[in-house]
Symmetry: C2
Subunit: 217 residues, 2 copies
């Protein structure tokens, strides 16, 4: 094993790979583009990770998995206490990714793009991504059920989907959105979390059920 003063080849590849997957998507990313920027040999990728798919999985595990873990740790902590509220659940979901991305500066921008983009990757990558987030979805949906058991099963699913929609869109687009009405690209993480939580909290207070009883053709 090498004792590196600089980042190891493995980590170097992971860093650049995350950046490329985030910027170009899976299909738009080439191993050659990665290894060129990372100043490593092509074979290093195969040696350390295997195939391109395996590399993507490794990036997911390295960068996305900790976010999910933080969300779940936070959620479980909230559940273990009395007085669980919808807002606490929402904050458990939104705060970890937003805070992390925001605190990382330029690297956070890449992480943000990667986290957002991976949710809209075509198959078969999407299944891999979805599997990584399955436990997150399950536990948050369970929390919704705990908070209000009177809703339909579909309703809980949609709540999670809507909650997810907002952050996926935020992660992928916040940079260009902010540029549209701001000169500076700085933003306040707390304000963003508040905004997302408020929107979801009020949105979920709606019955999320058809109000019309008309049947379609």
């Amino acid at each position: 094993m090498r004792n590196d003063t600089q980042t190891s080849t493995k980590d170097q590849i992971l860093d650049i790979a995350e950046s490329h997957f985030a910027t170009f998507g899976f299909a738009g990313t080439s191993l050659r583009g990665i290894i060129k920027e990372a100043n490593v040999n092509v074979a290093s990728v195969a040696y350390h990770f295997g195939s391109k798919d395996d590399l993507f999985a490794a990036v997911m595990k390295r960068f996305a998995a900790p976010v999910v873990e933080a969300q779940l740790t936070r959620l479980r902590s909230e559940i273990s206490k009395p007085d669980l509220t919808l807002e606490k659940v929402l904050r458990a979901f939104y705060e970890p990714p937003i805070q992390l991305v925001h605190s990382m500066g330029a690297k956070g921008e890449k992480l943000s793009l990667f986290l957002g983009r991976c949710h809209s990757e075509p198959e078969p990558i999407f299944s891999l991504v979805d599997a990584h987030f399955a436990s997150c979805r399950d536990e948050f949906i369970e929390a919704f059920r705990t908070l209000d058991s009177s809703q339909s099963e579909a309703s809980y699913q949609w709540r999670f989907e809507f909650m997810l929609s907002l952050i996926v869109n935020f992660l992928t687009r916040h940079k260009s959105i902010m540029q549209r009405y701001q000169t500076e690209t700085d933003w306040n993480a707390l304000e963003v979390v508040d905004m997302l939580c408020q929107f979801c909290m009020h949105g979920m207070s709606a019955p999320l059920q058809a109000k019309s009883s008309k049947t379609e053709k």
Copy 2:
């Protein structure tokens, strides 16, 4: 010009191209895959459309533009009447795409995927997509301003982004979402529109402003 009993080469290419872009994304789609399934020659693509980018633009114009047009027509109609409400604006946004996709059956599934996916394409495709939807964003944001002029400019932008987030996520994921808790993949368009509108309407009733006055590091 040829008098075709079957679909013309141009339309045949457009149809299959939409399907492939929807399924594999822009980078993941190959012209060879399209022309093989469409049973046409590679050169036909160059002849009728030009480059791969041009083909994508043509698909956008053919399939996505009418949706935006329908949304804007609907919105302008609502604005011209008295008693404009938030719900009417939301329905003007959600109904056209949902109804259209739902009424088209299997072809609607492809359109749905394409409409959703194109919003998360990497650059430079995203810019092309964004330009197509610019007028839509501007007019709906203007409608939000008309409904309530007391909010900040950023707030209107976020309202639109949140509204957009929900349908992008729905269009790309509704099939797999429904399969998760339903045996049948049938769905009721009116119920979906109601659901989206309700969520947004209540979400937007929130101030969409930071409730905390703490400043970050």
